[in-house]
Symmetry: C2
Amino acid sequence: MKSTMQDYQLTIASLMHHGTGVHPDSEVVTATAEGSRSISYAELGKRTAQLAGALRSLGVEGDDRVATFQWNNAEHLEAYLAIPSMGAVLHTLNIRLFPEQLIYVANHAQDKVVIVDDSLVGLLAAQLPHLETVTHVLVAGPDAAAADLDSLRSSGKEILLYEDVLADQSETFDWPEVDEDDAAAMCYTSGTTGNPKGVVYSHRSAYLHSMAACTGNVAGLTFTDRVLPIVPMFHANAWGLAYAAIMSGASLCMPDRWLQAEPLVRFINESRPTISGAVPTIWNDVLTHLDDHPEVRLDSLRRILCGGSAVPVSLMQALRERHDLDMVQAWGMTETSPVASVATVPLGVEGEEAWRYKGTAGRLLCGVEGRIVADDGSVLPRDGEAVGELEVKGPWVTAGYYASDDPEVEEKFDHGWLRTGDVGTLDHLGYITLTDRAKDVIKSGGEWISSVDLENSLMGHDAVLEAAVVGIPDEKWQERPLATIVVKQGATVTADELREYLATDFAKWQLPDAFAFIDEVPRTSVGKFDKKVLRQRFRQGDLRVEPLS
Amino acid sequence: MKSTMQDYQLTIASLMHHGTGVHPDSEVVTATAEGSRSISYAELGKRTAQLAGALRSLGVEGDDRVATFQWNNAEHLEAYLAIPSMGAVLHTLNIRLFPEQLIYVANHAQDKVVIVDDSLVGLLAAQLPHLETVTHVLVAGPDAAAADLDSLRSSGKEILLYEDVLADQSETFDWPEVDEDDAAAMCYTSGTTGNPKGVVYSHRSAYLHSMAACTGNVAGLTFTDRVLPIVPMFHANAWGLAYAAIMSGASLCMPDRWLQAEPLVRFINESRPTISGAVPTIWNDVLTHLDDHPEVRLDSLRRILCGGSAVPVSLMQALRERHDLDMVQAWGMTETSPVASVATVPLGVEGEEAWRYKGTAGRLLCGVEGRIVADDGSVLPRDGEAVGELEVKGPWVTAGYYASDDPEVEEKFDHGWLRTGDVGTLDHLGYITLTDRAKDVIKSGGEWISSVDLENSLMGHDAVLEAAVVGIPDEKWQERPLATIVVKQGATVTADELREYLATDFAKWQLPDAFAFIDEVPRTSVGKFDKKVLRQRFRQGDLRVEPLS
């Protein structure tokens, strides 16, 4: 029996037409040095058409890739909408990639045009000559004309001002019919070995992920919301917040490059977002700023999303108790679009038990199926106790990587499930608790020690700003935990004190045998703790390990 | 360029697995004569598997149709989940259909099995012998064994007790792979001419509609919600609330046959829903009940959805002002799954202007495109003023009817758009204002008079319970409005008083020339005003028209 339903394609264009057509009065506010600038969604719609016209005039056809090298701002949003809607593929370049990685991914994706922020011209210039397939660069932003365009021109590419090419174009565009399974956007993820690997999102996956983000169990976005994506649009699509805002008609507050606590807090108070999302580091900085400025209140925010790395419960508690802010942890990865689970609390649960749920990586969303798999490939019970690798599947989860010849790729999938590389448990309510990255697991005397649990606990200590725990080789136990600690400015603490502090929550054999005090935790290009570097530093004897008494 | 995303099918089974697997502690509460009965979602999952097993054992294969003849209760929900998930097609029979319509739709759909509530056995018995393709009837509900099964057995069909056949089955079922475009469910809509026509929903359309219902702009359902669908599950899928609740993990409160104000209010206070949906008639009754019982408060409800016919602003205002209840109007039809628009208020709008928005048929949801088309087929501006027929399209909008030979079907579609048969305007913010059904439009001297506007205004009068306005032939003006009025118990009002009351809001030429006081407004099988009957009564001289002075 055939359904009688319409064959309607779930595309970025349909999302864009809805957002700009039904919510013309919503706005995109972008932070500037002096304050902010803004355009309405009606204008956004027109400028999106102009951008599509401009790209077409530069020869962008079919599924050509157009790259962005931009902060979160109105122009980046225009690229998010125009490029997929015209049938091309949006490639968000991570501005924090190491030069050789940037060159690799741009060449691998065969980017044809790059849109770059005026403020990032300097960062792109050195690598631009090596981006072999790029023919044109559009320089965007209010100060584009004043940017050092010559540094780009020396690459031999054609360098154009974004506003100039838009001004020549019509405010309408003949948007092509696009199939929902066509590629819409791509994002590379940098593994620990081999080259970065590209995840290619379809129109359908982006649309469905946006719908999910608008549901009550994630952010419940409505057109009365104002969304502040602090997490970069070049990092896992700003967690889908940009498309979700357009879909719901919520206004967008874009921080551009003003990500330090002081300008960020000022921007929050000026643009009054109701929802925001960023990694723990950002919120840690905001917390410190708020603690130092008791007169400042962030009273527009009804929900703060946090993820990208494990969110310390102490951070959530401090924001709640001292600043009346509700932080909710979410989990996902580039391969999952990214949102897969959100740690809201079950009905009727309060107090310590509620904090326990808030400390998990979240509850599986409808659309994302999860399971825990043992080393031997067997599926483990969903009892909140059995520890194994988390595997997921769903309509916004990747099944592979773009044109990758990395032999490791095959190992990333298990009969249609994505192996996340995260290790933990899944309980009967669908809550994921992550204890480690598979590669960071500490195996001591046949037992696993969770570096994440130790880190979370350590970061709850008053004197600790950040903590990263790694396994170091041990003759007797195979591996033992080493805790690396960044102490808060002005605070002091000893290894013995920290060990004693941990002893109330952990068994003796789980406690770190060694502590090292460091200036900052090394991070990957997407801001995660880079434990590979820490282990390497330890091997090279570069970490000064404090003796325990 | 190919996307790397997984090919994951959006099916009722995946929705069911999520709801029952990740939200096992949520519950379905069903009203009973004495109070309520409930099962957890974990039990629901097991019983769904048992029902699928039972139906398979009775010979249900492939896309066989399984019909339900049930109120909103746990067993109906089990049918909603089991039948599509096993690959069969759920056919919800409207228990209020006229006998010949019921027989027509069951035979047209070729229903193989009917699940009937114990309380509805009597209603089905007389028609059962004429349901040619039906082989088995399952009698569900706590009093099934005590029902008059002999009245069913005389049909020659095999009559079984629902609980007996479930008890024989395993609590797990080998769910088949289903394509998201396969038929999941069907619902007939009774037009004004010709036979009822069947809309066939796909798994995909039901899934996407459920996601939309969970978004903030509709109901923003979360797993801490409790959903009370008063609108019947046999009427446009209870507005999608059942599937949406399962998807979000929200608990369900099912009123069964207790739809009168007194037991309904009692059930609301016992089961404490946060969201509910019903037609205006129901809420009118609830309002009267609440007015009469000032000690009763419905403080669990955070949002009441209302639709099915135009919602009088006076009803919304009375609920808000006298009972602190927030009612939101939604619009849709069987052909649109049904929710297409919801009348939430734009940011920053307050007072009279907010009530004006709440009085519209709502703002288009993302996924539903709308346009207003003139009689000559031209698309009219979205200016809130140009009046024409509303046309819609989207992934949960039908493109046709099941095996219909009705020559009128072709006229229902316009180059891929569904012609809704509703006449009105669309403004630049995507708000639909409906002035009439196309067939109910009153054309007077070349101008259109909105029967809906007159009705809404009349129903705001203290003495008026209901008002239905129809066009009657007029030699000079072609048509003129006749207002039929149901006066509230104990109240009195004259035609002159009503005309004077209307004169403050309407131009003189728009005022009804005639008023008729009637005992009740005739209704269709889905509870809408049946203006065809009113016009017929007028023609036959059956309406006593009050003279105006």
